[in-house]
Symmetry: C2
Subunit: 217 residues, 2 copies
DNA sequence: GCGCAATGTAGACAGTGTCAAGATGCTCTG
DNA sequence: CAGAGCATCTTGACACTGTCTACATTGCGC
């Protein structure tokens, strides 16, 4: 019984006053939120299944009734990340399908990189080897993950059909290449390699310029 | 004494016949090699300090006389990776400082991505958040890491001074942007995201084309 | 109201990184 | 050649991890 350390935490995580009576109520989604929070605040090393359970005031093994294992839990977090990611990207000018201007590419690039940098705890899982290399992505995660890229590819195809992108450009290749660039910028920024966060703006501008030239706008 | 499992390994790792007598002889470098091998064969999860020690037939804590902790060991592996990386890149046509052609950029890109894909166990450490985020890179690793990029930047500056790259291009920005692209391609390939290894060649070709246009060759 | 499925719990096991204390043997100085 | 000093290696211990098994409690549908 010595583990009710929850009462010692400064701000109890929004439990509705009725303290809790054996059954938690909404453990699954609270696990996902707490996991993301721990990752953000303390990095990968700060997240353990046991710690997570303790933080939410349940026993060590309770989370296993909602996620088969740690891997599944992380897939769940990544999935939530993709939902937020798609929402951000879909608000981009790029989806408007009018005239394709360099500004639109810049806006998209900026949104992409900003999301990655400001939601690194999600981005790391969404586009990191940790989950993908395991070759065991949740089916729902796979769906969500590919949808993001497919939507982007759809934009490119749309613009090409409207004659806004040279017909000599292979849409898939163009999409992969520009996505790679944005991914590379994001990764270097997040990990603090060769790039400082002060240059985000300029990197995105130059990247968009490069994309535009490649598309022969 | 039951831990001399080394004799049970199929191919003893090139020990000079004189089996070993308390002192190992060259543990440090064997640790680095074995660590890279384990990472390659079994991934990050397959590498533990204890496993490493057992594999080399020494006690669990012996490695700690050569590396302060696991982190330092990994820094050592990454450093070796950078040495190999620089060697590969320096053989590129890009270093020749004659006329800059798209072919040179393609050759460089190809070498970069090929190294990353075929030496993923090194690349992951060299350019992964695992070490960089810790903010505690070994001094010698930092040196080696920045040297790689500085050499590349040097190539770009050299070509610009020879009038091979438009003076409107900021060399640092161009270097960062193209490096980001190559990094992004490599990461997506290694992690198996959106890119299949069959398209390596074409991605590199298209990337070089894009770089060349940006440089206004 | 009852039974079952969902959800919670404690106990145990093998594995991890790493610290502290002690054993061994190479090397160099006297 | 003796022996001191030091690098190296060893065993023991600790706190932590993910996850398995077995058991307890509860809410919901009949």
């Amino acid at each position: 019984m010595s583990k009710l350390t929850k009462s010692s935490s400064v701000a109890p995580p929004s439990v509705p006053a009725t303290a809790r009576s054996y059954h938690h109520g909404d453990l699954r989604s609270e696990l996902l939120d707490a996991a993301a929070r721990l990752l953000r605040e303390e990095g990968e090393a700060g997240l353990s299944m046991r710690r997570l359970a303790q933080e939410l005031g349940v026993s060590r093994t309770a989370p296993y009734h909602h996620f088969a294992d740690k891997h599944s839990l992380l897939c769940g977090v990544a999935e939530e990340g993709f939902r937020r990611f798609r929402r951000v990207l879909s608000e981009s000018e790029l989806g408007l399908h009018g005239v394709l201007r360099e500004d639109s590419l810049r806006d998209f690039s900026r949104r992409y990189v900003d999301f990655a940098v400001n939601n690194a705890e999600y981005y790391d899982l969404m586009f990191g080897g940790k989950l993908w290399k395991s070759q065991a992505l949740t089916e729902s995660l796979k769906t969500e993950a590919y949808r993001a890229f497919r939507e982007y590819l759809g934009y490119i195809r749309g613009y090409q059909q409207q004659g806004q992108i040279s017909s000599e450009v292979a849409p898939l290749r163009f999409a992969q290449l520009s996505w790679s660039t944005l991914h590379g910028i994001s990764r270097l920024l997040i990990d603090g390699i060769y790039l400082e966060s002060e240059v985000v703006e300029e990197m995105c501008r130059t990247a968009a310029e490069m994309f535009a030239r490649q598309a022969r706008l």
